[in-house]
């Protein structure tokens, strides 16, 4: 039977001295959020969306609240670098048209062993995460054959019920799901293989979204619902000896989706195909030195589907990457030095059917060193060459006192090239992408380098094995950042992009204080609490009022016996204002003859209570879960144009066959 927390045990035996231990020994590891399998279970995380909701420093602006389709402007502050997304160490290029579609990643949350979320600049596994990164690790079986499957159905309240025949008639709300996944794996002494699939359907029945999508309706019948449908497959194999470890993985995802883009200011139906294949591994040169390598190929093919309003949206991109590094583990620390090359190709069929190219070359070095008496120092450095050269660096100290406390100080400075963002703006301005089809959306100059500074000072107390306390203060400053400051304008009851204001010299600074407390009140009762206060110190205030000043989450999980658990979660967040939605504030959208809703540029303060249970049967082979979200039924939108939340229940069946 899989114990996801222990699943990597055999692999760790080989790679621990070089890769995993470097990560574990890194003093700043305390500052990143690591969601191990137990954590994912503890918080009853069902989708990646749940993780981002619970992670303190991230402000999710997904436009459907179930899948993850981020827009850059809502991420981690202004404009923002992308958070690179990695699966088992391989970068997945799932971004297109300035959005990042994490739901197209071909593994589900149930198939993951752990999720590492980084919210700060640091070098993690040879990647400099300027403003953060997402590192996913798929679960692996221990010895033998293992099968696992999950099926979840959701029901969001708010249907008309019998009142559909009365003056109280409202439009129908579709069920959520099914969310289904399964995987089969086998592991012997020296090798393992696994294969899995994922499928989900997500109906879009929110009044705003439904009205925005009406012109794109396809299918027959009076009660059509637009649905995101996605199907993925994933396979992975690894082999190890005393000296070598090699891993090959591949995944493919196909979906019909709705992509919200700044250019059009609304969702465009798309057909998206994403695939990747990767080979990676390491060779032990001796007890302390290892050579790591990685090759990968990503393909992302997106096109509008259907295209009733002649809105062009294509993104046919291939990314080929190679990376190598040497890890050195010595008595007082470890270091890593490496090189990476990325080759991007983007096809532009409508403009003379040409392929646009771009190359990125990176070199990096990291070291952490025990200075003695509980004091550790670390340094991360990376340089990137495209058309220009950029540098990124991060330095810090960690001091462990003889008592329960440790203190840490961290500082970073990074430059970012527009090429790194792989953004629509870069390809349009520097490479002429969409010269014929996007001629109405020309930009002013992109900055040559964006700069970002951050310092962090923190105190962590491990009062006992059962009680941890972590508080830190983060100051950050963005210089020469670029952002598309656009407004959503009414077009009847629909919306579209209006005035464009491309800012290429934006400066803004922020101060935030996150607090994290976790404890085991009893061996079977675990609680965690996070709170983050954020304040903007300088820069254009109206652009960043969409970031909540206060964000709070409290989780409690009780597992009285091995076969039953109950969990509850309370979330709160302060109100936000979205400048981009000011022109549509108060815009009425009629769902039917007697039902209206109104756009608002302000989202109300969030107070949400969730509760769930999970019961295992037959020695944990079968389990049923009932999860209730937003029991207090607060009508709440995460984003002015996002869907309205309401009381929602999920019923799940889980199979785990050893």
């Amino acid at each position: 039977m899989v114990t996801r927390g222990a699943a990597l045990k055999s692999i760790i035996k080989i790679i621990c001295p070089f890769m995993v231990c470097m990560y574990l020994m890194n003093p700043v590891s305390a500052q990143k959020t690591v969601w191990k399998a137990d954590d994912l279970n503890r918080h009853e995380v069902e989708t990646l969306h749940d993780i981002f909701t619970l992670t303190s420093g991230w402000n999710n602006a997904s436009n459907d609240d179930a899948t993850i389709q981020f827009s850059r402007n809502a991420l981690a502050g202004p404009g923002g670098a992308w958070w690179p997304v990695y699966l088992n160490g391989t970068e997945l290029n799932v971004q297109n048209w300035n959005t990042q579609s994490l739901h197209t990643i071909p593994v589900s949350i149930n198939q993951l062993d752990s999720v590492v979320i980084i919210e700060s600049p640091m070098l993690y596994k040879g990647t400099f995460t300027e403003k953060g990164g997402i590192f996913l690790y798929s679960s692996r079986a221990e010895r033998g054959v293992h099968a696992q499957g999950n099926m979840v159905f959701g029901n969001r309240s708010g249907d008309p019920g019998p009142f559909v025949y009365t003056e109280y008639a409202t439009r129908n709300i579709e069920r959520l799901g099914p969310f289904a996944d399964a995987q089969l794996s086998f592991r012997s002494e020296n090798y393992g293989i696994q294969a899995g699939f994922k499928h989900f359907v997500h109906a879009i029945t929110d009044v705003f979204q439904y009205r925005r999508l009406t012109p794109f309706e396809f299918g027959e019948g009076t009660h059509r619902h637009e649905k995101i449908r996605s199907t993925s497959i994933f396979a992975n194999g690894d082999i190890s000896t005393d000296i070598f470890y090699h891993e090959v993985q591949a995944g493919y995802s196909e979906s019909t989706d709705f992509l919200f883009t700044e250019i059009y200011g609304t969702e465009i139906p798309i057909d998206q195909k994403f695939g990747f294949i990767a080979l990676s591994g390491l060779a032990k040169m001796n007890e302390n030195v290892a050579l790591n390598y990685k090759f990968s190929y990503n393909s992302n093919n997106t096109k509008e589907y259907p295209n009733k309003e002649d809105r062009w949206l294509r993104w046919n991109q291939q990314v080929t990457a190679g990376k190598t590094s040497i890890s050195h583990h010595f008595e007082n620390g470890s270091q890593q030095v490496g090189f990476e090359a990325n080759f991007f190709g983007l096809e532009d069929e409508e403009s003379a059917n040409r392929t646009l190219n771009m190359q990125l070359y990176k070199a990096f070095h990291s070291i952490n060193y025990r200075l003695g008496s509980g004091l550790q120092a670390y340094s991360n450095f990376s340089t990137i060459k495209a058309k220009k050269l950029a540098i990124k660096m991060n330095l810090g100290f960690n001091y462990q006192t003889r008592s329960i406390s440790s203190f840490y100080l961290d500082a970073s400075y990074s430059q970012r090239l527009p090429e790194e963002d792989n953004s629509l703006w870069f390809w349009m301005e520097n490479k002429g992408f969409g010269a014929d089809t996007l001629a109405d959306y020309q930009l002013s100059d992109l900055p040559t380098r964006v700069k970002f500074l951050q310092t962090k000072l923190g105190w962590k107390a491990t009062i006992s094995e059962q009680f941890n306390f972590d508080i830190y203060m983060v100051w950050s400053r963005n210089i020469d950042e670029y952002i598309m400051n656009y407004k959503l304008e009414p077009n009847g009851s629909r919306i579209e992009s209006g005035e464009f204001d491309f800012i290429n010299n934006l400066e803004a600074s922020f101060l935030s204080i996150p607090l994290k407390i976790s404890s085991e009140i009893l061996p079977s009762l675990h609680q965690s609490l996070t709170y983050t206060w954020t304040h903007q110190l300088s820069g254009n205030n109206t652009l960043f009022d969409m970031m909540p000043n206060h964000k709070f989450s409290s989780n409690l999980k009780w597992k009285p016996v091995d076969s039953f658990l109950i969990w509850t979660r309370f979330q709160a967040q302060s109100a936000t204002n979205w400048a981009l939605a000011e022109p549509i504030d108060g815009l009425e959208v009629r769902a039917n003859f007697n039902q209206s809703e109104f756009y608002s540029s302000r989202t109300a303060a969030l107070f949400q209570w969730d509760l769930g249970i999970k019961k295992y049967f037959w020695n944990h082979r079968v389990a049923f879960s009932l999860d209730m979200k937003n029991i207090n039924n607060q009508n709440y939108r995460n984003h002015p144009v996002g869907p309205r939340n309401a009381f929602t229940a999920f019923l799940g069946m889980h199979i785990d066959m050893p």
Partner: protein, 211 residues
Amino acid sequence: MGVTKDGNLKVISLLITVAIFFTSGNLKAQKFPSAFEHIDVLLSYQQNVNQNYFHDYWSPDPAFQLELDTPFYAGNFFLSGRFNSVRHKTNEVPGFDNIQVTVGWGLRHEVVERVKIGGTVGTLFSMMAFNYVSDEQRDFAGTHFGSTSPESEIGLVFGADISYEFSGGWGIRVNWNRDIVYTQTKMKLNYIGIGLYRKFNTPIWLQEVLH
């Protein structure tokens, strides 16, 4: 877009229930030998007793409910199904058959010998199949983008009961339930019921599966 008064009341009720749950004597105990040791099978007659805007259009007939109730790690776990035929009072709307499945949890306390009082909370899944939908009704619903096919919705149930156990595992139970079905305009229905139950010892093999 704030929290509704109705929402506040439910939150308070459920918080109290959860508080009872976490502060119950069983919390510290890690063994629950009595869980699933017997199953009560209850058949009851249920009558809707309140009046509100729902009753401007419909009148629920007497309903019948089948319930399975078993000791849990703390309190009791129950699963119930209720069939209710709902007559229409005006020709604007069709009547419908309602099947409601509820999963819930409760606490029961013996106040005098053989007499127990209890409180329950549960999550309901309500399915409504319309009897006959005229063309006019179908058109009306269609213009509102509603569905004339069987409807379903989730909701919450709050209840209280009193039971008396005869000898031989037989007993009688009287209950009051407040059902809140979370349709856009909520269906808030109070039921009073009376029923007969029989206690069965759970077979060992079934206890092992359930544990």
